[in-house]
């Protein structure tokens, strides 16, 4: 960003550039041209600039590359140099842009009057007020100032510490709503260290997940999706061609469970017993590693009570399933067990499982030199809240956390905040916590500020601002440092966040190469190196077994982070609200999953609001009757139920945090049906495939046998009346459905790349969702072989014999010289005949003039036309990217290279399920992928002879009784 360009003129410039894109249809483009005063050598107007940074949407710490056009970031992609993201980020990462450009972000500092009303004030006034209160707090004594916020990297921690020490305090509370305390406690108990292990799923042949939704949320969904795809890829094992064996034990069939070979329903809380039972079988059968160094005899006595038969009796999980898991786990050449939830006994069991089979150090690694614990322990958090209530804190600065929303009622967050005389809130979209703050300061979005991340040993990410601030915000670090300075702090780590971050990095630099190291880090988005696994030993002495108990008779309330909304901080982003949750396909709401038998017992019907009452509170949620939840569980996702947090989040669904006890996402619940209903909204029609070849699967056994026998004689080829055209190129895709996890990163990426509008809940109800790519979710019919759930991306198939084309009266749909099914938006008159004739139903019609409330419009990709009302639109394999690359190749006077063009969806896919390339180039990676998987290929609805350019590779499942 050029120095001389003021923020104001930047916004104007951005507005100029954006105006063309923001105004749909035939409106004239902006009539003003405003040149730079001093040109930035790195910026060519009209061409994208790329900046490496880090994603701050969750704690995984993926590296990202931001595409910046005319000073505004339009797209985020994974940083290929970063070992965690490896070039892909998830839907939440993609949607970070909507946090940046959120129209509800706080635009100016605000102060709350006694009556509760907010008044806009200037930054100078705000800072003066802050300093005034801080000054008084210092005078009042020690520890009168506190900080409460999410961990935001080592540099930020330094700043917070400096800020607090400048005010004579040490009350820094780094609060994570979804913490890792049980895992740390288990690791402490078993291995004597509190750091979190990393997993290498791709090194395993068997995976046991005990309620761990590692593909959706948790440590690092992108990385684990990538590893899981490798794990599931058919490989030659000792026993022949096979895919990784995976089991999921848990109360509900999450997306992760759906992608495992087998979902074993277990009552909430029973997972630990089942894990111990697996351990029992492993030890009884001696399916353990001889050199694991575990005291097997000690273990044997611990697990004695968990023989499969009695465990089965207690939990209702079939003994056969337990033995099958144990056999697969113990006999595998590399296996990994994962646990989710907050039962430390379960985490302990999982550690033991991995240890006795010799997989610690192989698939479960502890790395030395990792980050120190970033989050405060639950006890520290609780203590801080108590301190607030006791009036021991005068000034509380909150940044990056929403305790009022995410803290269980027992922590009495709202009451605690009320007792603090001066609460300063720094953030973007004002949330429930901001509603209780006295001073609201607009803070930079992570994409606007400097920061660093240290997700694990060997991975240090550097976050740099990728654009000028959108609003009159300041970096939280800068605010804290300025306050510290004003309070007369003598030794600050730097004057600004940038200085602190830079100092941090220069300190890591090798001797003499500091500036080079800094430049490289900024270019690469961090510094990455291999970390060696540490040698750890299992300490059997400290082990504790769960007490064998039967499943609770009462219903248990189970909540879980939503794949997109997380613990609730994703709820302000319309993309994340509108992309259907992969399994339930529900949008813009949350729901209560109830098993049909439970529903029948309670007298609950579909969409009926049920009242969920625990000892802590009561919420209501519409019922989703589904056999994919254990009869003993009522499952409600986190994320909704905001009472503030912007127009997209406010007053949607209910907040499960309100009925939880601290430290657990499960609690006994009383369920009362109410008279009211609220329709759960989904763009999905039917869930049954009806034998149609839209998504296909085959068993791994069949694949190993060499594929399906031919289904009788087919009509002789060619099925052609006319000669084929000789296209210059034929763009095509190969999509490995077996690799697809359903994570919908592709969907979010498409929204971002192609200016796909969001229609809101009302729009989805009325069947007007606009996504060009979607995850088709089907369930196999009962007693029919197949995976637990079919999940497959569906986008325009770019049919060679496209049914949509000949019916268009004006050639708006036609075939390009490169074999694409082109859609000319400005030619479209809106007859909608094309969509009627599309068997895949991938075309989308603009029912209204699409809207992007300012400044969301700044995100629009200037290379893609914004479609107006009455126009049909659809995927064209990111024609703008193809066009850009072709022009570049032509200018450089060279042929296009394979892989030079990558569509937004293929780019985003963490599992790399999508490959894109030229079908006329047999050597392209895409075509080789087809050739290598000949036995698995199919085309969607092939019998219609539309000749799609997309070849899918069948999903693989395990035949019944072999899982």
């Amino acid at each position: 960003m050029p120095e001389g360009l003021s923020r104001r003129s930047f916004i104007k410039l951005a507005a100029t550039a954006g105006a063309a894109a923001a105004v749909p249809g035939c409106e004239p483009a902006s009539r003003k041209l405003i040149p730079y005063v001093v040109p930035d050598e790195n910026v060519t107007p009209g061409m994208p600039t790329f900046y490496a940074s880090t994603c701050a949407e969750c704690s995984a710490g993926c590296g990202i590359v931001a595409t910046v056009r005319e000073g505004r970031v339009t797209k985020l992609e994974g940083n290929p140099a970063d070992p965690i993201s490896a070039g892909s980020i998830c839907a939440r990462g993609q949607a970070a842009l909507q946090g940046l450009y959120n129209p509800d972000r706080l635009a100016n500092p605000m102060v709350r009057a006694d009556g509760g009303s907010l008044t806009q004030i200037s930054w100078d006034q705000a800072i003066a007020q802050l300093n005034d209160h801080l000054g008084r707090a210092i005078k009042a004594g020690k520890d009168r100032v506190a900080f409460l916020g999410a961990p935001q990297g080592p540099a930020f921690r330094k700043i917070v510490d400096a800020f607090l020490s400048a005010h004579g305090s040490s009350r820094a509370v780094f609060y994570e709503a979804l913490g890792n305390e049980p895992r740390r406690a288990a690791a402490q108990a078993v291995f004597g260290r509190r750091d979190l292990p990393v997993y290498r799923i791709d090194q395993a042949q068997t995976l046991l997940s005990f309620s761990s939704d590692f593909l959706e949320t948790g440590d690092s969904p992108v990385e684990y999706a990538r590893q899981f795809a490798a794990f599931r890829a058919p490989r030659q094992h000792r026993s022949g061609l096979d895919i990784g064996r995976s089991f999921y034990v848990g109360p509900r069939m999450s997306m992760t469970a759906g992608r495992c070979d087998r979902w074993i329903p277990a009552a909430p809380g029973d997972e630990a017993q089942i894990a111990w039972s697996v351990l029992n079988v492993l030890i009884a059968q001696r399916w353990v590693s001889q050199n694991s160094g575990v005291d097997l005899n000690a273990l044997a006595s611990l697990v004695a009570a968990y023989d499969p038969a009695s465990t089965s009796k207690r939990t209702g999980v079939p003994a056969e399933a337990i033995t099958a898991m144990a056999e697969a786990f113990g006999k595998a050449d590399g296996a990994v067990a994962l646990a989710g939830g907050d039962d430390d006994l379960l985490h302990t069991a999982v550690c033991v499982l991995n240890a006795v089979t010799g997989n610690v150090g192989r698939t479960m690694l502890f790395l030395d030199g990792g980050p120190s614990e970033a989050a405060s322990t639950p006890d520290e958090v609780a203590a801080a809240m108590t301190a607030m209530r006791e009036g021991k804190i005068d000034v509380l600065v909150i940044a990056g956390a929403n305790p009022v929303f995410t803290m269980p009622p027992a922590l009495r967050a709202a009451e605690s905040l009320q007792k603090v005389p001066f609460v300063v809130w720094c953030g973007g979209v004002p949330d429930e916590t901001a509603a209780m703050a006295n001073l609201l300061l607009p803070a930079h979005h992570p994409l606007e500020s400097w920061r660093d991340t240290f997700p694990r040993a060997g991975v240090r990410g550097l976050g740099q601002p990728v654009m000028q601030p959108v609003f009159a915000s300041r970096a939280t670090g800068d605010i804290l440092l300025a306050a510290a300075q004003a309070s007369g702090a003598s030794s600050l780590p730097g004057k600004t966040t940038e200085e602190v971050v830079k100092a941090q990095w220069l300190a890591m630099a090798p001797q003499g190469g500091a500036e080079d190291f800094w430049t490289t880090a900024r270019r690469e988005g961090g510094s990455f190196s291999e970390a060696k696994p540490a040698a750890v030993r299992l300490n059997t002495g400290a082990l504790r077994a769960p007490s064998p108990s039967s499943s609770p008779a009462d219903l248990t309330f189970v909540t879980f982070p939503h794949i997109f909304l997380g613990d609730g901080d994703g709820a302000d982003k319309p993309w994340l609200q509108e992309i259907p949750e992969p399994i339930t396909q529900i949008v813009w709401d949350n729901w209560a999953e109830i098993h049909p038998s439970t529903a029948a017992r309670l007298g609950v019907s579909k969409d009926q609001l049920v009242e969920l009452r625990t000892e802590h509170g009561v919420i209501t949620a519409p019922a989703l009757i589904s056999p994919r939840v254990h009869p003993g569980a009522i499952a409600v996702p986190l994320g909704q139920g905001h009472r503030a947090y912007g127009r997209y989040a406010k007053d949607r669904g209910s907040n499960p945090w309100e009925i939880l006890a601290p430290g657990s996402l499960r609690i006994a619940v009383k369920v009362n049906p109410t008279a009211a209903t609220r329709e759960l909204i989904t763009p999905l029609g039917k869930s049954e495939l009806m034998g149609r070849s839209i998504v296909e699967a085959m068993s791994i056994e069949e694949l190993a046998r060499g594929g399906a026998p031919e289904e009788g004689p087919l009509a002789p080829e060619p099925y052609e009346m006319y000669a084929q055209y000789d296209y210059q190129r034929m763009w095509g895709m190969t999509i490995d459905v077996n690799a697809c996890t359903g994570c919908s990163a592709c969907v979010a990426a498409c929204y971002a790349e192609n200016n796909v509008p969001v229609v809101g809940k009302e729009g989805v109800i009325r069947g007007r969702i606009m996504s060009w790519i979607r995850i088709e979710r089907y369930y196999p019919e009962e007693n029919e072989p197949g995976p637990s759930v079919y999940l497959s991306p569906m986008l325009c198939q770019q049919c060679n014999h496209a049914p949509c084309e000949p019916v268009c009266p004006v050639f708006a749909a036609y075939h390009t010289k490169e074999g694409l099914n082109g859609q000319v938006y400005n030619r479209c008159v809106g007859t909608r005949y094309c969509e009627n004739n599309c068997p895949y139903k991938v075309r989308r019609f603009n029912w209204f003039i699409p809207e992007w409330p300012e400044p969301l419009n700044l995100q629009l990709n200037p290379d893609v036309t914004v479609r107006g009302a009455g126009v049909m639109e659809k995927c064209t394999f990111c024609i703008q990217r193809i066009q850009h690359a072709e022009i570049t190749a032509r200018i450089e006077n060279r042929p296009l290279r394979d892989g030079e063009i990558i569509t937004a969806c293929a780019q985003a896919c963490p599992a790399k399920a999508i490959s894109f390339g030229d079908m006329k180039d047999e050597q392209s990676a895409m075509m080789r992928r087809r050739a290598d998987n000949k036995l698995r290929d199919y085309r969607s609805l092939e019998e219609l002879n539309t000749q799609p350019a997309i070849v899918y590779l069948r999903d693989l499942y395990r035949e019944k009784g072999k899982a």
């Binding site: 000669a723 014999h801 496209a802 049914p803 268009c808 050639f811 749909a813 036609y814 075939h815 000749q947």
Partner: protein
Amino acid sequence: MNESVEIVGSFADEQACAHCIEKLRELRALAVRVFSPIPSHHIEHAIGKPKSTVRAFVLSGGILGILTALALTIGTSWEWNLVVGGKPIVSWPPFIIIMFELMILFGGISAVLSFLFNARVPAFEIEKGYSSRFSEDRFGIVVRCAEGESARVESILKDAGAEEVVREAA
């Protein structure tokens, strides 16, 4: 030379009118025009004029329509060479529909236009001998003859059943 006169006989009956025309024709008296409120085959037959040339116009209009459609469909297809659904640029089967429609359209328009042209419609002058009743319920025969022959013609008309015979200057 005698002055020419036009004698108008009006008939209530179609058949009588037709007979009268035939009689006049036998006598080589010139029936200038016949008015009738309805299209009458009898009268048309009695007059014995050749079939209308409208037919030729319609035929050529129809052919012109087909040719126009051919030129339009094929010509415009060649303008951009846009491939749709893997079909050839000139995919003639659907073009037949356009040819058919334009054949009808051009044929129909030429039928009307050639009628207007041939029948001299719109007519801006009232034909001699026209009376409003000839649009209602009377058939009229206008005979032009020399002043001297008028009496004979009048009697023929009257004999044939004319209700009324009027003489007008030519």
